[in-house]
């Protein structure tokens, strides 16, 4: 896990430092950063993927669409996102 902190210039008052944590996941066979604790719903949103047309697998288990919003990813998770493509 890596820690990135910065001081948001436009914000005044109590919020002085914002700290964001990132984790590495393997997404469709490529190593990638995601915000720590991202849900699958959040990941799909970040990627611009319509959830209605894909299936998501985490560490070889399918995560049903109804669980996308509540399923939190962890450091090192292997995520596969598949959809339908041309085929015979």
């Amino acid at each position: 896990m890596s820690r990135i902190s910065f001081r948001p210039s436009g914000l005044a008052g109590a919020v002085r430092d914002a700290v964001f944590y990132f984790m590495r996941i393997i997404l469709n066979a490529e190593s990638r950063e995601a915000s720590d604790g991202s849900t699958i719903a959040g990941l799909l949103r970040d990627l611009g993927i319509e959830p209605g047309r894909v299936a998501v697998e985490v560490n070889l288990s399918i995560i049903k669409r109804s669980d996308h919003a509540s399923f939190h990813l962890k450091e090192g998770d292997t995520v596969e996102i598949v959809n339908f493509v041309e085929g015979g």
């Binding site: 047309r53 299936a55 697998e57 049903k64 598949v82 959809n83 339908f84 041309e86 085929g87 015979g88």
Partner: protein, 261 residues
């Protein structure tokens, strides 16, 4: 399909199919050509494969933007799977990504022939049928295996006409006939249909449907070939239902002898 007898519908596990020609969506120039060919074929079933989403290029578009799942029945396949485990994994992902329990089950045995590994196919059929899938297995033109697949819970059998993409037509029409007599399931010829007459022969034998991909997509004019296949399937079905004349070695005159000078 206004020309077709509307009562002559193919029904598999309660799902009604308007067309007896099923088409694949692989190997087209682009999605627009796919759309036009599918439309020209008059088919209401299209097969698709399950693959990773393109994460990098999100603008490349998706097949389902061109083939409306509300208009067509989407039949996912497990193409490219060489083991039971992979076939199960892809089937389950397909069900999650889609809207139905339909799966065109392929367990491939060999890269060169793409012949099915029927041992693995049988095992996968049994497991998936128990999980509630409507399993349509791509199999050999082997009546014994067809019967075993039926007993394992297959909803139809899909014997090959010839190797996938070969265009060789029906290599063993006699086996296809025996399969038709052996199983009490719809028989859908899958793979190897090269031109319209091949499709017509399959239907004349009494097959319930024909699935074609390369035969259409690989033609010089895929849109025209899609239409040719559509007519061939309709013609073959009508001829089967009409009952053909027996083949004889010698002639029988069509015109009367009586009244001749």
């Amino acid at each position: 399909m206004e020309e077709q007898d509307m009562d002559d519908k193919l029904v598999i596990r309660g799902i009604e199919f308007r067309s007896r020609l099923w088409v694949g969506t692989g190997k087209y120039k682009d999605f627009e050509e796919t759309r036009r060919a599918v439309e020209a074929s008059g088919s209401d079933v299209v097969t698709v494969a399950v693959r990773r989403v393109n994460i990098v290029d999100r603008k490349s578009g998706n097949l389902l933007d061109f083939i409306d799942p509300k208009k067509y029945k989407i039949l996912p396949n497990t193409a490219g799977c060489y083991t039971v485990e992979d076939a199960l994994r892809y089937s389950r992902l397909a069900r999650e990504a889609g809207i139905s329990d339909l799966i065109k089950l392929e367990v491939i045995g060999d890269e060169k022939t793409l012949f099915p590994d029927t041992w693995g196919l049988l095992k996968a059929t049994e497991i998936l049928a128990k999980e509630g899938f409507i399993v349509l297995p791509y199999t050999n033109d082997d009546p014994i295996m067809a019967k075993r697949l039926e007993n394992a819970g297959a909803a139809a059998v899909m014997p090959l006409a010839a190797p996938i993409g070969s265009g060789l037509g029906i290599r063993n029409p006699f086996n296809i006939r025996i399969i038709l007599e052996t199983v009490n399931l719809p028989v859908i010829v899958d793979a190897g249909v090269g031109t319209a007459s091949d499709a017509a022969i399959a239907m004349e034998l009494g097959c319930d449907a024909v699935l074609i991909n390369t035969g259409i997509a690989g033609a010089k004019d895929p849109i025209a070939m899609a239409e040719a296949m559509k007519h061939a399937v309709i013609a073959g079905r009508l001829a089967y239902k009409a009952g053909r004349i027996p083949k004889k070695l010698y002639a029988t005159a069509s015109s009367p002898i009586e009244g001749m000078l």
